[in-house]
Symmetry: C2
Subunit: 456 residues, 2 copies
């Protein structure tokens, strides 16, 4: 048992005052989102009907590497940031690895995950621009909880469409959103045209992030003074999440180390980009050789098995066309517990970075993820979110390689949230009834073929 | 919105290295626990069959005001301590009070509550003395989770008896304990003589901390190399929890303030004593005038309606006789959601302090507690445990008095844990179906009369 320092914190005045926009430093910029009708590149103004204006500009900003965090947002960050950087001595011991494992513990945010980092600025900008109501989608509910609380902070009304399977499987997150004062509707629902269409075609449709996004956008554009907000995928969301990596950079310095490998679980990319991009900057600008690994579920493998292609961000086709690794916007992911990773596509920045070989991706089966999460819980005491379990599994795989080679590599992963609301999943794992879901090459091909018909 | 500092942390080398034993400074010492057969005062040796030896000595120590925290325990504390002291600007604003409200946020412990502060040393001392198996009781499961994880840390096997009503109502905490590797049994069970007797007399008995304690003690004394551990009530547990108040003392100094009022919710007393005693020391030794308020549920009001009397700590009568405020050890509390507060008696130290007027008690109805908790959640983002909601309600009451008088009092309360596993309770509150449970004077009198027959 070590008596060395375990946790590293920043003082409130050391918390970063700017987010990092990697687009400015990328050699190959992300390709532009397209208007689906005209196929012309989008301008910020084209997004005004959906998002707060400031967010539209952040979304497409390829020039400014540093974006000021508004004082009101910094003020709210101080309630839970910096989050601890933790040296995982317990996990290292359990694995018997010479690797040094660190994790950034975003689970200590009041809402239990990193999602608040973007919910606060999104709600703030909406309020600044005179918006009174905001809508969003949520999968397992981490984002919905964060947005509901952020809305309350800035005096906005929040309406959340939650993926139906999660709404029914994990009622506690719905309760949390309602405790914060939000309206929560299971998606697909009969409250929107998009939802009605889906339910007419498939009355038992259990929803996906794609269906919930369609409904939330429809509500936003059809309601006065209402904007839509999104919890991942988009570049401005990832921008806000860089607060994680920027803090971690300073904290790793306090620990006297620099990561050889940075790992995040992968749904749309904001958590992965949030921890990675501040470090990747040193690869791009200074030739550092850190590896970046996105850990996605084997049942929703857009990075490892998808195609790079313009696609819609939602099922109904309301969004612009985005250049991304995708399984096709009609892809209906299996009902894994990591609801936040059930999304058909990857954000445009990450997609370009993966295409250019600046990062890697690995896929993790559901049972492997919970095996890793259970080991982590016993070793470090924290029950990880099913999403975060994917990052832990990837970190364990790398640490085990170090055990074979004897290398003392420094591994950093993001613990994006806790899994206290997901204990039924752990129950299934412990009782041996947790399933793995396979996705066949044929499934992927069929979806992509459908996609090509729609997009052309 | 203030830009002043919100959270106060200690560096790892500022974390206290000793616990504070208020017994040494009390003018009127607690009366001794008695052997129920001989009615003779207990010596530490009399407790050896049940607890680790070191804990038996801590229990009865009335001489040493400061007890060293073992290095191995301090090392584990560093994974989550210091916990933040938070200035509750959001709550102050929501109330419109001139009071300065602070809370000590114990919910950020890996297991979600303050309980780990005592679970770690209890497991550590057991391991040091060659014990291989530990047993305990748990209500809502906060203590059981902490003990299960602490057992894993020190390589012990844990068997937990969980109050049946909580086991069934809140299966997630059972899952957490099992994820840490513990065996969990609903109490009363057929696995012990005490449990069989209870179930024979009352097959639908839903359990209480008193029944679970009986079963856990019976298992401990009938199993080789096995000791019993307890999550509250006893003096050594409260001793360990003083880490909360000792940290808070330093953190309040960093904030440049000293509390006029210190508040903790009250089940057995360890959370209340943990936050209070380090400050009460200055009342005793230096004549400070801080008020200390224990917030108990109106449905289990031992401090406000019980009698000061020797009583058993458990239903079966396995424990020594303890001089305490009690509703009688046969008192079966209503099924409120604050499972950790469903206990018939108060610890001997607190009982003496209350008798001597060194502290106060207030009772809070269940609906009032959730009203306070919901307000707090919206204002501060954290969903509080049902137990902690009682402390919040008492703090709000005091802050509202300040609003009337205009006084800028400094109020400190302990946020003992989060309520993420208790969302069904919030659901009930939000839907208006949450009940209040009355306890009549007659109920109390009948229990006390029964008690007197047994004790005599």
């Amino acid at each position: 048992m070590s008596t060395k320092q375990k946790r590293f914190f920043l003082t409130e005045d050391q918390i970063p005052t700017q987010w990092y926009n990697i687009q400015a430093d990328m050699v190959n910029k992300p390709m532009p989102p397209l208007n689906p009708q005209t196929k012309q590149p989008l301008k910020p103004e084209d997004l005004y009907p959906i998002f707060a204006k400031e967010l539209c500009h952040q979304e497409l900003d390829q020039k400014n590497a540093w974006i000021d965090i508004p004082e009101e947002v910094r003020d709210m960050y101080k309630y839970y940031r910096s989050t601890p950087l933790v040296r995982a001595y317990g996990l290292e011991k359990a694995l018997g690895t010479p690797a040094h494992i660190y994790f950034k513990n975003e689970s200590v945010s009041p809402v239990g995950s990193h999602k608040l980092n973007s919910a606060l600025p999104q709600a703030y900008y909406c309020k600044e621009e005179g918006v009174t109501n905001i809508t969003t989608e949520t999968g397992a509910g981490q984002w919905g909880c964060a947005l509901s609380y952020a809305a309350k902070v800035f005096g906005l009304e929040a309406a959340v469409y939650q993926v139906k399977i999660s709404y029914n499987q994990k009622p506690y997150r719905r309760s949390i959103m309602q405790t914060y004062g939000a309206q929560v509707t299971p998606s697909p629902s009969m409250s929107t045209k998009a939802g009605k269409k889906i339910l007419t075609e498939d009355p038992n449709n259990q929803g996906s992030l794609g269906t919930a996004i369609s409904e939330a956008i429809e509500l936003a554009v059809s309601t006065p003074n209402c904007k839509y907000t999104l919890g991942s995928v988009l570049s401005h969301v990832t921008l806000h999440q860089t607060i994680i990596g920027l803090e971690a950079e300073k904290q790793m310095e306090m620990a006297g180390e620099y990561p050889d490998i940075v790992i995040g679980c992968f749904g749309g990319g904001s958590n992965f980009g949030g921890i990675s991009f501040p470090f990747m900057r040193h690869n791009i600008l200074e030739g550092k050789k850190t590896r970046f690994i996105a850990a996605e579920p084997a049942s929703c493998p857009k990075l490892t098995q998808g195609v790079f292609q313009y696609d819609f961000g939602d099922v109904a086709g309301y969004t612009p066309l985005l250049p991304m690794y995708t399984l096709g916007h009609n892809f209906m992911p299996a009902n894994i517990h990591a609801g936040g990773l059930r999304y058909h596509g990857a954000g445009v920045i990450v997609s370009q970075l993966l295409k250019d070989g600046l990062m890697e991706a690995t896929d993790i089966k559901q049972t492997e993820s919970f095996k890793a999460g259970t080991l982590f819980a016993k070793a470090e005491g924290i029950i990880p979110a099913p999403e975060s379990c994917h990052a832990i599994a990837a970190a364990i795989n790398e640490a085990n390689k170090c055990k074979e080679t004897g290398e003392e590599k420094v591994i950093l992963f993001n613990l994006s949230g806790h899994g206290l609301i997901d204990m039924s999943a752990y129950d299934q794992y412990l009782s041996g009834s947790l399933l793995d879901f396979e996705i066949t090459e044929e499934d992927v091909k069929r979806n992509i073929a459908e996609l090509e018909k729609v997009i052309k």
